[in-house]
């Protein structure tokens, strides 16, 4: 099975480890992610105004190109897969909106004429987590695990965009289970913690890092309190905020002993014994290798 995959801006820069580990994992699980050609920015954060069609053009262009890509792939379902939960949310919402309002879609399609594109409202947007849950199945993930993550106590951090709003959510917004189920199938321990969807502060990092810091402190303290030794995320922005700001907070003397932040696919890659280089741990601000070594999960001799 091959899936059309939309990367989005960060997967090629800060979050290389997310993309490459996800692609490696997807191949191993026979749900391969194949990058769609000529993609552009999803638009980042969906507009919640009713009248701003301009901001819906970018996502619709992506959907239209993905639709063409799916046709080339053959045997693929009419769906485009995202890794970044922000992209996922933006594309899903815009997709739902233009399907509901054919008049808007017509106007947007008019703008796409220059690119020789037209979107017919025939695509579904899925997050890779949904593919793992619905198409692959947790048992099949467990079957591929060669290096169970014993000793890892993981707090699954969903953030807002995987669960909000109704149109874009991938799981129950108050009690999601998809990340936890994956963690369990990797042989790691799940931590039951309430801050799994407390917002990280998002784009406020640009000009209001105080907002982000206050959130990061709350989230990290709660994770530590419940015994977690690592967090997993599905969003490059959450990852950056939680990862980088822990370092900043340490510098400020607010919070000590930072805990590493992983993309869920990185842990899957480790548990499935895939090559270490896909994870690009060198991009992380808090070195995750220390913990992995301490627990004997990498660097073991066969």
């Amino acid at each position: 099975m091959k899936n059309s995959y939309f990367p989005g801006c960060n997967l090629k820069t800060e979050a290389k480890g997310f993309e490459q580990s996800a692609i490696a994992v997807s191949k191993a699980l026979d749900a391969e992610l194949v990058e769609m050609p000529e993609w552009n920015c999803c638009g980042t954060v969906q507009t919640m105004t009713t009248d701003n069609l301009m901001r819906r053009i970018a996502p619709v262009r992506v959907l239209s190109r993905a639709s063409n890509h799916v046709k080339e792939l053959k045997n693929s379902q009419n769906q485009v897969i995202t890794l970044c939960s922000m992209c996922n949310s933006t594309l899903k919402i815009v997709n739902a909106e233009v399907k509901e309002n054919p008049n808007d879609l017509e106007k947007i399609n008019f703008q796409l004429e220059n690119d020789d594109l037209v979107y017919e409202g025939d695509m579904e947007v899925k997050h890779f987590l949904e593919i793992l849950r619905d198409d692959v199945g947790y048992e099949n993930i467990a079957k591929k695990v060669t290096n169970p993550l014993e000793g890892m106590k993981i707090a699954s951090y969903y953030g807002c965009m995987l669960l909000h709003p109704e149109k874009a959510k991938i799981d129950d917004e108050e009690m999601p289970t998809v990340m936890e189920s994956i963690v369990l199938s990797l042989g790691a321990e799940v931590v039951d913690w309430p801050y799994f969807k407390q917002c990280c502060g998002s784009y406020h990092i640009v000009d209001r890092d105080d907002i982000v810091n206050s959130q990061v402190v709350k989230i990290i303290r709660n994770a530590k309190k419940t015994g977690a030794n690592a967090l997993i995320v599905a969003c490059p922005l959450c990852a950056y905020n939680l990862d980088n700001q822990q370092v900043e907070l340490e510098k400020l003397g607010v919070e000590k002993e930072p805990i590493p932040i992983f993309y869920f696919t990185q842990l899957m890659a480790i548990a499935m014994g895939l090559p270490q280089k896909v994870n690009h741990f060198e991009d992380h601000h808090i070195n995750p290798i220390l913990l992995l070594k301490e627990l004997g999960l990498i660097g073991k001799k066969k």
Binding site: N10, T49, D51, N52, P165, K197, Q198, C199, S202, Y203
Partner: protein, 137 residues
């Protein structure tokens, strides 16, 4: 203590209906339960609670709404939207207030100079997101 004189003149009505138009929400569905404020992760940084803002929009108190930082502190995490018992997309109302300012009173917004090294360091996703919410881009 503060005092307010309530009147529903054209300016008040116009502000309310403009916010309703941009957000696509019926502001008057709000019955002031405050669940939006209660669940907001950023309420400690807001000058007015969200439900207070909603009430002010209902009353058409444009100045009071725009002076407050509430809608700028909102990070669009949509917790309020999914929990609102009256099916109001509260986050969209916050967005509408931001949009209103950007469209009709851009001069009231302070310009920000971002240092070069910050721009290099921060992921694009945050930059684009921030510009989309806080500027006319």
């Amino acid at each position: 203590m503060s005092y307010d004189y309530i009147e529903f003149g054209d300016t008040e009505k116009e502000f309310t209906s403009k916010i309703e138009e941009i957000s696509g929400q019926n502001i008057f569905s709000c019955y002031q339960c405050g669940k939006c404020s209660a669940g907001c992760a950023f309420s400690n940084l807001m000058e007015k609670t969200i439900n207070h803002t909603m009430q002010l929009v209902q009353l058409g108190k444009k100045e009071k709404v725009l002076q407050s930082n509430t809608h700028w502190v909102c990070a669009s995490c949509l917790t309020c939207t999914v929990r609102c018992p009256r099916e109001i997309d509260v986050a969209a109302v916050m967005e509408a207030i931001r949009e209103y300012t950007l469209r009709y009173e851009p001069e009231t917004i302070e310009r920000l100079d971002l240092p070069e090294e910050l721009l290099k360091k921060i992921p694009n996703i945050a930059l684009v997101g921030s510009f989309r919410k806080k500027s006319e881009l």
